[in-house]
Symmetry: C2
Subunit: 379 residues, 2 copies
């Protein structure tokens, strides 16, 4: 299996204002994206990949000047890979409010001439999907072969299936959920509180102060990271191993797990934007398409027309198997075609990003069948 190789991010500017779910208006904005493979003549082989919390449009390949900066789903997308770029035209897109290129809180607010900061409007999964749909239109893609994502990306794929039922053949949602649990919201809340109460946050306008709320971001990331791993996986990888082999009777790094978390927290806080973290966790909290139907997910999914692939992982306690199964149940209630697998993997929520043969084989087979349908002209 090879990589898609050198890739280049593109950007597209939209000058038609976007009305958000909150009522706020983004006057104009830029979306950054990447594409891999070739769009076929009848434009029937396009796959949209939606990203999760800390990822971006950079799904596969690497940049000419950054050969080690590999896309976040490079094990999934590429020539001969489960999402085969020799067959499919794959689009990775960066969402509004992100800190990786698309218009976000660190960019200049045209109304004030200063960075948006605190004034960047709260965006929802549905807002992102509307913006993505505009990009699709601009690229001339009337109907996606598939809209696909993991975790928060899976929420976007699900939202697509409800908001634009006629503009996709398949919806692929991995390690996702139709709504966060109270515990999930609680973890997001604590992470946000760590950022909001960091004195260097300055109410979201830290750019003007030349500082970054690193401590808050660091704690936020460490909390998140614990929830991405399973208890079992963490025990196997780190256990109670001490870096120096003995207790040092202090509060510095002693256990390997502490070292690992600090490394993750430090790294994250050196590149991620604090306002983006707030925005994305809020989008996670808010997603709940059944809420408009008295909590009835079956009704919420009634107007979908896509075929569905859902995958969950048995040790994922952030977005549990039960959460995926609730979606499967609601889809079957609606007599939708659903393929579902609950993969017995030890890696918790992170499993959706890792190479697991059974998981990748399933996605590969699903795309093989999709390709057969495209080739044979069926839909």
């Amino acid at each position: 299996m090879t990589s898609v190789g050198v890739v280049t991010a593109r950007s597209m500017h939209f000058s038609e204002p976007l009305r958000l779910q909150s009522g706020a208006l983004i006057a104009d904005y830029t979306l950054v994206y990447e594409t891999y493979g070739q769009l076929n003549a009848d434009k029937s082989n396009a796959v949209l990949i939606c990203h999760a919390l800390n990822a971006s449009h950079h799904v596969a390949g690497y940049y000419a000047d950054q050969p080690k900066n590999t896309g976040w789903w490079d094990n999934m997308v590429g020539p001969g890979k489960p999402v085969d770029t020799d067959r499919f035209f794959v689009i990775g897109i960066n969402n509004l409010g992100s800190c990786f290129g698309s218009t976000g809180p660190m960019h200049t607010n045209p109304e004030t001439g200063r960075p948006y900061g605190h004034d960047f409007p709260v965006v929802t999964v549905e807002d992102w999907v509307h913006a993505q749909a505009r990009l699709a239109e601009a690229l001339g893609i009337e109907k996606f072969a598939a809209v696909m994502g993991g975790s928060l990306g899976g929420m976007q794929a699900l939202a697509w299936s409800m908001m634009y039922p006629d503009r996709m053949e398949h919806c692929i949602a991995i390690a996702s959920t139709a709504k966060l649990t109270a515990q999930n919201i609680a973890f997001n809340d604590v992470a946000r509180q760590a950022i909001l109460t960091d004195p260097d946050f300055h109410g979201g306008d830290f750019y003007a102060h030349g500082v970054v709320p690193k401590n808050g971001l660091r704690v936020a990331r460490m909390i998140g990271h614990i929830t991405y791993l399973s208890n079992v996986d963490m025990s196997e990888k780190f256990g109670r191993v001490l870096r120096s082999g003995q207790y040092l009777f202090g509060f510095g790094v002693e256990f390997e797990i502490e070292s690992y978390l600090h490394y993750q927290g430090d790294k994250f806080s050196s590149y991620f934007d604090a306002n983006t973290y707030l925005l994305i966790t809020r989008a996670l909290d808010y997603f709940d398409p059944a809420a408009s139907y008295d909590g009835d997910l079956t009704k919420a999914l009634a107007n979908t027309r896509a075929k569905f692939l859902l995958v969950s992982f048995t040790t994922d306690w952030r977005f549990s198997s039960e959460a995926s199964q609730a979606i499967v149940k609601a889809l079957i209630d609606n007599r939708r075609e659903v393929t579902y697998a609950d993969i017995d993997a030890p890696h918790g929520h992170d499993a959706f990003l890792l190479t697991d043969e059974r998981y990748h084989d399933l996605v590969r087979s699903y795309f093989d069948r999709m390709w057969f349908d495209i080739e044979s002209g069926r839909d």
Copy 2:
């Protein structure tokens, strides 16, 4: 069932230095404690209750000037209660390093004349047990009818059974474990990092600056609180309920669970000492009696002589049922007498503090039998 009524905290000063596991020496110290019920003539009815993270010697009853300040295990300890103070002489003790009266980081370091702060030595579960044993000696109690605790308190009871096997008849460890998992240590680590990186922490010497690292303590407590509750319990109590019934598109409190966590965090940070939080979480991390026996818990428990009662709760994911069962297994390997129940309660780790009929009935029956043995002169 009635309360033990008005209680008064007592204190005892120890001028003989205490050598700690770290090698450090506490030159002299004070332990604060409370007692309920009457010590019988042959001193065979004494029960020591060890406290967990945020609790104290104030186990039962209330203070004359604070009628609402009820002891943390008042539902368990009192006349006619499972630990019946009409029969047993119960001692609640506050551990070294705590912020509720016994010598701790906020007290004056005799060597410097300033508060200990950063210089208060790291204390371990075993150090606490040594200090508790000295108090027992001073009170003339050669052998406890039982040493009892939940969570970190259960670790102390277990340590007692290994360190002073001849000085207790029964060891009662509820919702406890013989060692933290990597995930547990990770949660403690993040909580500590929130405190350590709060600018108001001042390296532990915040007393001199007239500030308290409230933000760090608040985040620490919120993280802890999430882990005390079960996912199911949190969903049932809070779900996705919004305080105002609608999304406000901001980062303030919107979900009920956020409101609850902030309340808990604010309350905790207004009375708990940040250095104590660091000390107690480190004591939790370090407890691992099997480590001295190549990880063999059976060997670690080989010299115990007590009879054991262990209780776990099915939804406790902080100190899981499996953790208690590992202790039960090791005790049975050693042919110890063990009573064990895994209570199917929805309340997570917090269940050990709550009133559950099956749980309380079990403890009551256990103490009934203990009382029968004492009355009939058997041991």
